[in-house]
């Protein structure tokens, strides 16, 4: 009786490479993805479903933007920071993007140290990732309050089309919620790693299942996904 993360592919299975291998795996015995644990498969399928949510959000945004009668606000003016006497277009958003992408880097380090069973460094890297994620959310709060103080509301917008406010708050809010949930899970996981739950095979509080360092990698999948989504939001909102 061990946990479900452990994968044993029998040695007798000689698998073909490439497309024939894919077909062989799918038509084979017991499991379609040969060296993928249940929870990792679940995360991938969840992310596929989530991809649809964000794609449909962005498609709705594009449709609204193309069909609105009033002009769309100019991104490099709306999202600029006024420091001293000059306007820096996209300065804040550049920093935010940098922070979030960096957090993907520290997440990768956490996964790496996790597989080396380096308990402390893994926990530290998870904490750093969570910290960067929280910084991102904090800067988003700043950006929101700046826009709100300039009069942007979900239902109206002094700079142009009223849909701008609604769509912007909705989509960045939905993404920000994803980041915030990620931060909470990172903190919980950092505590588990620090305590050594994955070394002592402690049962999960809710699920009564044993965890191991693969959980860090699955957390990483989610985190990188949230980053990737941000790249698209960044491109469609700030560069269009």
């Amino acid at each position: 009786m061990t946990n479900t993360g452990q994968v044993k592919v029998a040695n007798s299975v000689n698998r073909a490479k490439g497309l024939p291998g894919l077909v062989e795996d799918w038509s084979s015995d017991q499991r379609a993805f040969k060296n993928v644990s249940w929870r990792k498969a679940m995360m991938w399928i969840f992310l596929l479903s989530d991809t649809f949510i964000f794609s449909i959000f962005l498609l709705s945004y594009m449709t609204s933007r193309m069909s609105t009668k009033v002009g769309w606000p100019n991104a490099s003016e709306v999202f600029s920071l006024h420091i001293g006497h000059t306007n820096f277009p996209l300065l804040l958003i550049a920093i935010m993007t940098f922070v979030l992408i960096s957090s993907s880097g520290t997440m990768v380090l956490a996964v790496n140290y996790g597989y080396r069973k380096d308990r402390k460094l893994t926990a530290i890297m998870l904490l750093v990732t969570a910290l960067l994620g929280a910084t991102f959310v904090g800067m988003q709060v700043f950006e929101w309050s700046k826009l709100i103080s300039e009069g942007v509301r979900p239902w109206s917008n002094p700079m142009g089309a009223p849909q701008f406010g609604g769509i912007f708050f909705m989509i960045t809010g939905f993404h920000g919620t994803h980041v915030s949930i990620g931060v909470i899970f990172l903190l919980v996981m950092a505590q588990k790693v620090w305590r050594g739950d994955y070394d002592t095979q402690k049962l999960g509080f809710f699920t009564s299942r044993k965890g191991d360092y693969e959980c860090v990698e699955i957390m990483g999948l989610y985190w990188h996904f949230v980053d990737l989504v941000w790249v698209f939001i960044f491109a469609f909102f700030y560069l269009w």
Binding site: K8, V9, W26, S27, F33, S49, I56, W155, P162, M170
Partner: protein, 590 residues
């Protein structure tokens, strides 16, 4: 029951997945209420779905009261009529059929049929049910708020859905409806991830994808569709909630309401229609594909004959699933889309007829020269094939743009989709309950009551929906509480409407027989034994009936063959169970 031992021939595949430690319930609460056992969750899902479905059945009777006997009942005003229609549609499609097929049958049958101890993530599975239950509570709650539930029609088209002219539009009705849908989607996603992962990664030894019973194939494909289609509804729900609560204008053009210029402006109602039907059309197949799968297993078992063209059936299910994502705008021919879109979507819609027709041919060829036992599950399956064919043929009319435009928003459309996604899947639900009830309870349902139930339901549905096609062809629009004295409507329509209503009441009352049968047989039914239908699939080979926690004995079954080995020459019985090594060699079968 075949006890599988590790001393079996060397061709036995090694176990790739270690046994998972099951969660063992310690108290009444964790065993029956917050249970993590897929079988208990399945019964919880089915119970709630059937209960809310009965509410929708009562609503449909109220609709028929008004249509059959207009101006006779004071308590049905146009407003309440719209509320009845809306809630009837929404409950039947989402909260009954989707939840029952995937949450109910999916939870019960997937682990048993693929030879797993339980779903891959029992805790998430439990959450899935309780969030679904919460969604149902919110939905029911909307009946009791001031202004009542929403009356926007089950499609909830804006702008009218959130304006004061529509019942519930400015009250809590529409808000609770949208919140309930969002909750349903969250809950379903949790369950859906479970079903997909369990089928892909949790099968027992020897159970390849091409040895799965078609029931599992149907439920699996439908779940994949749901995981990809529900996001569109979730996004539409969130955006409409914002339109209603924050006065954003995602779906709202500038409007004058009762002389007042509203603050909305610049939104696109057509965008909502696209989002809704991008969910709505796959939803039809989310309901239909499990029915296809189940009916394949039922007719094969009760005709004692292997399914004809198993591979074709699998590919038809997958093909229909894929095609269902590129046909959505055939619901929108009259919305003012570009005509080229109509051309494209009419073409894809008609292409879907190919795999569906293929399935119907294969069912008929399965029955051909079979040893057909005309028991209740078989009767319901035959009823399904006929009904689905009828509904499918009218679908060909509606799929063509020029034929659809005059028929749009008439009772013809109502008759069509009730035939194809109302009556047909419900017949399968009944057939499936008569078929699997012995495994769930250990007792047979009463055959005599079952046959009466079948004939009244089957003949009754035709008496309801066949005349409705005619009413629609005359040009009677749908969603009108009463018709008044329109010159183009002949008197026969009123007579037919009364007749339809009477038939509907008889069918509705006949369902009491079914419920009585369910409860009576639970105590007094004939004990069934482990495998009353002498079926081949794994759920009938469990050591206990009903199956115990963990489903199978100390060892999971070992699968030697596909699930359709009926009437095999040389076998001692007329069927070979999937875990039966067989009389010949152990690696004999397909």
């Amino acid at each position: 029951m075949v006890e599988t031992k590790n001393t079996s021939p060397p061709s036995v595949p090694p176990a790739e997945v270690d046994e998972v430690e099951l969660y063992h319930a310690k108290s009444f609460w964790t065993k029956y209420v917050f249970s993590q056992d897929a079988k208990v969750i399945a019964i919880q899902y089915s119970g709630v779905a059937i209960a809310i479905g009965l509410v929708a059945l009562v609503l449909s009777s109220l609709i028929r009261l008004q249509l059959g006997f207009p101006e006779m009942f004071d308590f049905i005003t146009p407003e309440t009529y719209y509320q009845f229609v809306t809630m009837h549609g929404m409950i039947m499609v989402v909260y009954l059929l989707t939840a029952l097929f995937l949450g109910g049958f999916g939870n019960y049958l997937i682990p048993l049929m693929i030879g797993a101890r339980d779903m891959s993530f029992p805790y998430v599975n439990m959450l899935s049910f309780w969030i679904y239950f919460l969604a149902v509570l919110v939905l029911v709650g909307s009946f009791f708020v001031p202004g009542g539930p929403t009356g926007a029609g089950w499609t909830l088209y804006p702008p009218q859905a959130i304006l004061s002219g529509t019942p519930g539009g400015k009250g809590l009705g529409i808000i609770l409806m949208l919140v309930s849908l969002a909750l349903f989607i969250v809950g379903f996603t949790m369950g859906g991830l479970n079903y997909v992962v369990t089928v892909l990664q949790g099968r027992t030894r020897g159970m390849t994808m091409m040895r799965l019973p078609l029931t599992v194939w149907g439920i699996f494909t439908a779940t994949v569709l749901a995981l990809l289609a529900f996001p569109a509804l979730l996004v539409a729900t969130v955006m409409m909630l914002f339109d209603r609560l924050l006065e954003t204008s995602f779906f709202m053009p500038s409007l004058v309401e009762f002389g007042d210029q509203l603050s909305y402006g610049g939104g696109s109602p057509i965008l909502f229609q696209h989002l809704f039907w991008f969910f709505g059309h796959p939803e039809v197949y989310i309901v239909a594909l499990p029915a296809f799968g189940i009916v394949s297993d039922l007719i094969s078992t009760h005709a004692r004959k292997n399914i004809f063209g198993y591979r074709m059936m699998v590919w038809a299910i997958v093909g229909i699933g894929a095609l269902s994502f590129i046909v959505w705008a055939h619901h929108m021919y009259v919305s003012g889309m570009h005509p080229y879109f109509g051309f494209f979507f009419a073409t894809t819609t008609l292409i879907i007829a190919v795999p569906t027709a293929l399935k119907v041919y294969n069912w008929i060829l399965t029955l051909w020269n079979g040893n057909i036992h005309l028991n209740t599950p078989m009767l319901f399956s035959l009823g399904f094939i006929v009904t689905f064919l009828n509904g499918g043929l009218t679908g060909l009319f509606l799929g063509n743009v020029i034929v659809d435009i005059p028929l749009s928003d008439t009772m013809f459309v109502v008759a069509h989709f009730h035939m194809v996604m109302g009556v047909a899947p419900i017949l399968v639900v009944f057939g499936a309950i008569y078929h699997w009830y012995p495994k769930i309870s250990g007792r047979m349902l009463d055959e005599r009551l079952g046959k009466i139930h079948f004939w009244v339901t089957f003949v009754g549905s035709y008496l309801i929906f066949f005349p409705m096609h005619y009413i629609g062809l005359v040009g009677v629009p749908r969603r009108y509480p009463e018709l008044g004295d329109a010159a183009f409507i002949p008197d026969s329509v009123a007579t037919l409407n009364s007749f339809i209503s009477l038939a509907a009441f008889i069918v509705g009352i006949a369902q009491i027989l079914f419920l009585y049968n369910l409860f009576w047989s639970l105590r007094k039914g004939r004990p069934s034994g482990p495998n009353p239908w002498r079926a081949t699939t794994l759920e009938w080979q469990t050591p206990h009936t009903p199956p115990a926690h963990g489903n199978f004995g100390p060892e999971l079954p070992l699968v030697y063959r596909w699930p359709y080995d009926y009437s095999v020459p040389g076998a001692s019985e007329d069927f070979l169970a999937q875990n039966d090594p067989g009389p010949l060699d152990s690696e004999s079968s397909t």
